[in-house]
């Protein structure tokens, strides 16, 4: 687990894990060894729900993804495509 390349974001949104929705307000994005995906490295995304992640309730307030580099690029491109095709008047905010 040693590329140590971590981008940290402040964001606004919600995420669902299991049956529970939670607001998310920060995220980490990093390319490093996954916990679960069967790859030596993966693009990992952690979404946190309490601004200052940590302390109690940490288990419930993290939503995590581990993606292959190709999948991560496709996801990023898909996000850009849907944003580009959305009417500008509804993109504000």
């Amino acid at each position: 687990m040693c590329t140590y390349l971590t981008e940290r974001l402040v964001l606004e949104g919600s995420a669902k894990s299991g049956e529970r929705w939670t607001p998310v307000d920060s995220a980490s994005v990093y390319f490093d060894h996954p916990v679960h995906a069967n790859a030596e490295h993966s693009v990992n995304l952690d979404f946190f729900g309490d601004g200052q992640p940590g302390r109690d309730g940490a288990r419930a307030r993290r939503v995590a993804l581990e993606l292959t580099p190709a999948a991560a690029r496709e996801l990023a491109a898909a996000i850009e495509r849907v944003l580009a095709s959305a009417p500008a008047r509804i993109l504000a905010g």
């Binding site: 940290r8 060894h33 679960h36 952690d46 992640p53 940590g54």
Partner: protein
């Protein structure tokens, strides 16, 4: 090499005092069929205080050592799953060095004070724990240290990493004990050049050390449940670890 004796053992989660006075969680495994045993502080990797770490503690106990693995994330994410705790600590920039050294100090004191402890304590760490093992052996009085592919003993994390870890090679003159280093020749962090730089620093400081780099192995080759596991390197690595600790800590293996 002769077959090592496989010891009976017991293992449990304990609470022990860090040097800063905080009570933190740890996983303690120890042999139950010997009167005297050395201690090993087992520093977990960045993915956390996980099953793989605890299985390593069991391996040490079955080989005649008391092994104590501090949960370095006890304060940040108590009761969280290991991967959640690791994500939280990553987002915070990692474990502060002073706190880490205090936790290792507390674990070493606990091992020395155990009934049956022979008073000798080593430290071992993998990945981020490799750097932390080296750092601990430079800041504390220990009897042997093993650095398994520790990143950023030499070299600085890029600014975008968000991690606070800084190189610790400048502490080499303070190294208090013999050092065993195990590395993958295909690893990028630490790279073979960085391993060579650390060896140069150890040589210049007149330190007792031995390094082994395994061809065909990269980072994390001890991780039995990951694709980067390399059976030949890991098997030989464990032999070297037990030979090294046996010489410097005096296990009843």
């Amino acid at each position: 090499m002769s077959q090592r004796r496989i010891h009976d053992l017991s293992a449990k989660t304990i609470s022990f005092a860090s040097a800063d006075g905080d009570q933190i969680e740890g996983f303690l495994a120890q042999p139950t069929d010997v009167d005297r045993f050395p201690g090993v502080v087992l520093i977990h990797h960045l993915p956390g205080y996980d099953q793989a770490t605890k299985e390593m503690a069991l391996k040490f106990a079955s080989t005649g050592y008391a092994a104590l693995a501090p949960n370095l994330y006890s304060r940040d994410a108590p009761d969280a799953a290991p991967d959640d705790a690791a994500a939280i600590v990553r987002a915070q920039g990692g474990v502060p060095d002073d706190r880490l050294v205090g936790d290792v100090d507390g674990a070493a004191r606990h091992l020395r004070a155990m009934a049956g402890g022979n008073g000798r304590v080593g430290v071992i760490g993998h990945c981020s724990g490799g750097r932390q093992a080296f750092l601990s052996a430079c800041r504390l009085r220990l009897d042997a240290a093993v650095d398994c592919y520790g990143a950023f003993v030499v070299g600085t994390p890029p600014p975008e990493s968000g991690l606070s870890a800084q190189p610790v090679v400048d502490l080499t003159p303070s190294l208090s004990c013999p050092l065993l280093g195990l590395f993958g020749a295909d690893d990028k962090i630490p790279s073979p050049d960085q391993v060579a730089e650390l060896a140069d620093a150890l040589r210049a400081a007149g330190k007792d050390f031995e390094f082994h780099s395994f061809d065909g192995a990269g980072h994390g080759f001890f991780s039995v449940d990951r694709p980067n596991y390399r059976v030949a390197a890991a098997t030989r690595g464990w032999e070297l670890i037990f030979d090294f600790f046996g010489r410097h800590l005096g296990a009843n293996s």
